[in-house]
């Protein structure tokens, strides 16, 4: 059992849980959280792919890709949250 195997399987499990959540969740905020779990699972696999047995330094390219991914995900989350806020406001106004 090496760290890459343990965290690789962790990442796959997190991705699958996120996927199931995105398919089944009804609440918009929760569906967003599920998609974010998927992105974290993908991040896990990239970081695991970069790992080398300790004295060797890890591969910096996947690390840079994951950092880029994290920033893109926060941008996408912010836009999704703005859309959710807007939708909720419109629906509430319709109910009145």
């Amino acid at each position: 059992m090496t760290p890459d195997m343990i965290y690789g399987l962790t990442g796959i499990a997190v991705f699958a849980i996120g996927l199931a959540g995105a398919l089944c969740a009804q609440d918009r905020l929760r569906r967003l959280l599920a998609l974010k779990l998927c992105s974290m699972g993908a991040g896990f696999l990239l970081v695991v792919a970069a790992w080398r047995v300790p004295p060797d330094a890890p591969d910096p390219v996947p690390h840079a890709l994951v950092i880029t991914g994290i920033v893109v995900v926060v941008s996408a989350t912010a836009v999704a949250l703005a859309l959710i806020r807007r939708l909720q406001s419109l629906e509430t106004r319709d109910d009145d």
Binding site: Y7, L29, L33, V47, D59, I67, I70, V74, A82
Partner: protein
């Protein structure tokens, strides 16, 4: 022989999976968001174990800190709009029609199959694939910095990073457009302890953020981590109402949003020519140029993230609203 760290890894991996399950199964949305933040922090810890401190810092600062603030702010807004602010027992915000059990089971089975396929592929994959380690190590002397991840982000793959800054810019433009004319939930009253905390914490956060930016040249850290930490200064200022966005400040804000993208592209274009392609910095100025780009990109990231948290573009109150206020 069992390494105690392997037990730690196993426990951490199991807690991360359990937290992911809990995020989706807990009924209270507030609890789900808090669990998601804990999940993010433990993932950052796992990435430190995988010797990826840069990624861990970015995840802790941006993926967990800023994202958590965005999620909680939205939850507050949704509860205000639906009038369930004082009734935390109203668990779901969008109307829920129960999903038939068979549908749930089929979905779960499909996701299980996907996970199984991924796991088999992962375990069967060759352990040491061809990576970019050797190429990066070879090119490091020509990069102008001493930290491989910074060299990849700002030099070897600078085009990716430029696009990433553009994505942030696009996000803030989209949020300002989507939120146009939307009424704002009143900020919760935070009391006086908070103000004192902000006064104590703000200078420390500024120092930490700037340090992260500077140290990125030779150790884990850099523009994105530093920018996210500095964005928390903006969040604290907004929450403690030391700074209230004014319509007149929109020009400065817009300038700060495009500062990073503009300078990054300008440098890329200016160094090209004379046999060099874009982003091929002349070696003797490489470090200066990278630090210049990183510094200005950090300012852009910090302001953009704070603006994404604030959400609505600060606009002058319309005639109607003004009448209502008085």
């Amino acid at each position: 022989m069992t390494d105690p760290l392997v037990i730690f890894d196993l426990l951490l991996g199991l807690s991360i999976v359990a937290l992911a399950l809990a995020v989706l199964s807990v009924r209270d949305l507030f609890a789900a968001i808090v669990l998601f933040v804990i999940f993010g922090l433990l993932s950052a810890l796992a990435w430190v174990r995988l010797s990826a401190p840069d990624v861990a810092l970015a995840e802790a600062a941006i993926g967990t800190g800023v994202t958590g603030a965005l999620l909680l702010k939205t939850l507050h807004h949704l509860r205000y709009v639906t009038g369930t602010l004082d009734r935390p027992e109203a668990m779901n915000l969008t109307p829920v029609t129960p999903v038939p059990m068979p549908v749930l089971w089929v979905n779960a089975a499909f996701c299980g199959l996907i996970a199984l396929g991924l796991a088999v592929a992962f375990l069967e994959a060759p352990k040491v694939g061809p990576g970019f380690d050797a190429l990066v190590a070879e090119a490091m002397p020509a990069s102008g910095v001493d930290h491989p991840v910074t060299a990849v982000l700002l030099n070897f793959r600078a085009y990716d990073t430029l696009m990433e800054v553009v994505v942030l810019l696009a996000a803030v433009i989209a949020v300002w457009q989507v939120e146009r004319g939307l009424s704002e939930a009143p900020a919760p009253h935070l009391g006086e302890v908070w103000q004192g905390f902000a006064r104590l914490a703000l200078p420390a956060i500024v120092v930490v953020g700037t340090y992260l930016l500077w140290v990125g040249a030779e150790a884990p850290g850099g523009a994105f981590q530093g920018g996210a930490v500095l964005a928390s200064v903006g969040l604290l200022l907004l929450l403690s109402r030391f700074y209230v966005p004014q319509p007149a400040h929109r020009g400065i804000a817009r300038l700060a949003f495009v500062l990073g993208t503009g300078v990054f592209s300008a440098v890329a274009l200016l160094v090209s020519g004379g046999g060099r392609v874009a982003f091929e910095y002349p070696l003797e100025h490489a470090k200066t140029l990278i630090l210049l780009i990183e510094g200005l990109v950090t300012i852009s990231i910090a302001v953009t993230l704070a603006a994404l948290f604030h959400g609505r573009e600060p606009v002058a109150l319309g005639e109607e609203e003004r009448r209502n206020d008085t």
